[in-house]
């Protein structure tokens, strides 16, 4: 370990952790506010989760977007308008690579370098310890004026323990290890989880596997990808444009699902146990189709594993050769002490606007939100707000303190979604329009004095 005298002072520079979509937007927007930026990326290329070459990438060969182009692209760098409504994951990667090249972001990124510790120095500055990815070589400590964490939240699998899984004779993998339809071909497959990933993989399995069971704990509102010939999220945005109240939106949502999908319980899917807009939207046009063809067999939750079989909560037993646990992911910040982000015992951080550390004005997280739209636009505006906040904090501490006071009294209900299912899936759930309106408001407050 290097001793304390080896700390290199980077003065006013800001450290960004991760060069995925959120990290890239953060570098660009910090640069626009005039900051020097050092970004550390553990992989050797940009793209984060969307780069299938990365060992932490959750994408598989067939991954397509579930939010449409206009609600997914960066607000200041559109995707090519001749791309389909829902691009393929490889298109998203090429888009991120082009974004990085266009704004010359690569020169600020240290590839193959992982951040192992971020510790507060006490004066608002941070010591960042880095080393070559995978250890080996010496570590290095550098001092920064601020740290922005953009390490993603879809890479650390949420493991659900089941009784008897150790002795199970079939293969059990987390959905993050599912990469290619060949893994499914000719096998009996059980897919656990009714999130977007679980539904998408169940559909892929329906095309490849001999038998597909799809186990879900509860029923969800499953919207088709296209409604009236338009991407579903664009129709949803129309309801927000007309400023329809929640009750009316919920009613319309039910009507639209009734007309387009119909009664999903007829196909053996469980009925939703909550109202529309109380869970993260599930968008899938093919689940019901394959259920209706008997290619997907909806089953209830897994009770326990037992030898070659899996026992379900209704007492039924199935004998899959492969179990894919699409149980989601949990955020992880192994380089930060939990109290810095006010993480609770479950690891859930408590951040203002899901972005600003409450007790550390020079620490922020970008991209830790879930919405009824793509993540990139939200990450962009978050990073603009973070960059402008850091600029104000550095140049006009008195006004920055005013803004902080005002922000701390902002009611939670203006930017969080209170009426959602109480699961880790919904820790960071926001409505993208309400969230953007709040960020808009913050940006106005952060304008430098005339």
């Amino acid at each position: 370990m290097p001793d304390i005298t080896d700390i290199a002072d980077r003065h006013d520079a800001v450290c960004v952790i991760g060069a995925g979509a959120s990290g890239l937007a953060t570098i660009k927007n910090l640069r626009e506010q005039g900051f020097d930026v050092d970004c550390y990326e553990r992989e050797t290329s940009v793209g984060g989760a969307w780069n299938w070459r990365h060992d932490r990438s959750p994408v598989y060969a067939g991954t397509q977007l579930i939010s449409s182009r206009p609600l997914t692209e960066f607000p200041d760098f559109p995707m090519p308008d001749d791309w389909p409504d829902y691009p393929h994951h490889s298109q998203l990667l090429s888009y991120l690579e082009r974004y990085s090249r266009h704004f010359a972001l690569g020169e600020h990124i240290w590839f193959g370098t992982e951040v192992v510790a971020v510790t507060p120095v006490g004066d608002g500055r941070w010591d960042v310890t880095t080393q070559s990815t995978g250890g080996g070589g010496s570590s290095r400590i550098q001092r920064y004026s601020a740290v922005v964490v953009a390490n993603g939240h879809n890479w650390s699998p949420k493991v659900v323990e089941h009784e008897g899984s150790d002795g199970f004779r079939g293969q059990v993998i987390h959905s993050s290890a599912y990469k290619d339809p060949a893994q499914l071909r000719g096998r009996k497959v059980l897919v656990v989880g009714a999130g977007n990933t679980g539904c998408d993989i169940a559909v892929e399995a329906a095309q490849q596997a001999t038998t597909v069971w799809h186990s879900t704990r509860r029923g969800y509102w499953i919207a088709p990808k296209f409604v009236f010939g338009r991407p579903a999220d664009q129709v949803n945005a129309l309801m927000f444009k007309r400023r329809l109240p929640l009750r009316l939106r919920q009613w319309l949502y039910r009507q639209i699902v009734r007309i387009t999908v119909g009664d999903a319980t007829r196909f053996g899917l469980p009925a939703p146990d909550h109202h529309p807009y109380e869970s993260h939207p599930i968008v899938n046009s093919q689940l019901v189709y394959y259920a209706g063809h008997g290619r997907i067999l909806p089953v209830p939750d897994v009770a326990r594993f037992d030898g070659a079989s899996v026992e379900l909560t209704d007492g039924r037993r199935v004998e899959p050769e492969l179990v894919i646990m699409a149980t989601g992911y949990l955020p992880r910040f192994e380089f930060l002490a939990p109290e810095l982000l006010d993480q609770d015992a479950d690891g859930r951080p408590d951040l203002h606007l899901h972005a600003f550390a409450r007790r550390h004005p020079t620490l922020a997280v970008v991209g830790l939100v879930q919405a009824d739209a793509g993540l990139l636009p939200l990450a962009h505006w978050q990073s603009v707000a973070v960059a402008k906040w850091l600029r104000l904090h550095a140049t006009d501490p008195a006004r920055a303190a005013d803004v902080q006071r005002k922000e701390s009294s902002r009611p939670l209900k203006t930017w969080t979604r209170r009426n959602v299912l109480p699961t880790s899936r919904h820790w960071f759930e926001v409505s993208h329009t309400s969230y953007l309106r709040v960020i808009d408001d913050l940006l106005t407050e952060l304008e430098p004095a005339p």
Partner: protein, 266 residues
């Protein structure tokens, strides 16, 4: 920047989310420098009635000659300001490096709008038609008969006197006028009535260039536009509205590229 005259960032964009501008094939003309000097690409945006030919005449070559990749695009046949700005941003984002946007006439209005949607490396508004009522007043004074039909959805006819200085030979001026095409009725209306342009994202340097003898854009309007972007206009007396087709085309272009070179060094 006098932000009061520019619209605040638009975070909530229902128009784009619920009815995105449809794709059309776009005509882009480019002249690339012989050696790559890593200078940013310059995208010239023509005004209503004009097309890539207006820049292909002199400006593209000269810009490339000074080391900048030079590009221009054609405005789509059926479109409004929103669609035109969309096309400009699409072409800019497809280029490998952050782009300098140069708009002429109504093209400057399109650029001003595109600046709210794309962080340009820098922007130049030449003979900008940003100030609709002043432009309309000038048009009625100089070319009453050619302007009035546009009120009723007819075609706006620009006269030789409006576009060119007396230095341009009449037959040349008429040859240029032959190439003018009709603009969409909605776009013509939007020249006069449109919301204030957005505050440029990424705060690029913005230069306003014009001529005090321009009969489309009055001098006072040039000043107002420059004030909006926090500067004073760079003036080229004796030139007509179509600076890029005027016999003195090289002087304003060199001034623009000199300014750009200085800004890039900052």
């Amino acid at each position: 920047m006098s932000s009061s005259q520019l619209r605040h960032d638009e975070l909530v964009r229902f128009d784009d989310w619920t009815s995105p501008v449809p794709f059309v094939p776009r005509e882009v003309r480019s002249v690339l420098p012989e050696t790559d000097e890593s200078l940013p690409p310059v995208l010239f945006v023509p005004g209503l009635g004009h097309g890539p030919w207006a820049f292909a005449e002199h400006w593209l070559q000269h810009t490339a000659g000074r080391g900048f990749p030079a590009h221009t695009l054609a405005l789509r046949a059926e479109g409004d300001l929103r669609a035109y700005a969309h096309d400009v941003v699409q072409v800019a984002a497809a280029l490998p490096r952050q782009v300098v946007l140069v708009g002429h006439g109504a093209g400057a209005l399109i650029v001003a709008r595109a600046l709210g949607r794309y962080p340009a490396r820098a922007a130049v508004l030449t003979a900008p038609v940003l100030d609709g009522w002043a432009t309309l007043g000038a048009a009625l004074r100089t070319n009453f008969a050619g302007t009035v039909p546009a009120f009723f959805g007819g075609r706006l006819r620009l006269s030789r006197r409006q576009l060119f200085s007396p230095d341009l030979p009449a037959e040349q001026a008429d040859a240029y006028r032959q190439q003018l095409v009709a603009a969409g009725a909605k776009a013509q209306r939007e020249l006069v009535r449109h919301p204030a342009p957005p505050k440029p994202v990424g705060a690029p340097p913005v230069l306003v260039v014009g001529s005090p003898d321009d009969r489309v854009v009055p001098r006072s309007s040039l000043d107002r536009t420059a004030t909006r972007y926090g500067s004073a206009p760079l003036l080229f007396p004796g030139m007509g509205h179509d600076l890029m087709l005027d016999p003195g085309w090289q002087e304003p272009l060199d001034a623009i590229l000199d300014w750009l070179t200085k800004e890039l060094a900052r």
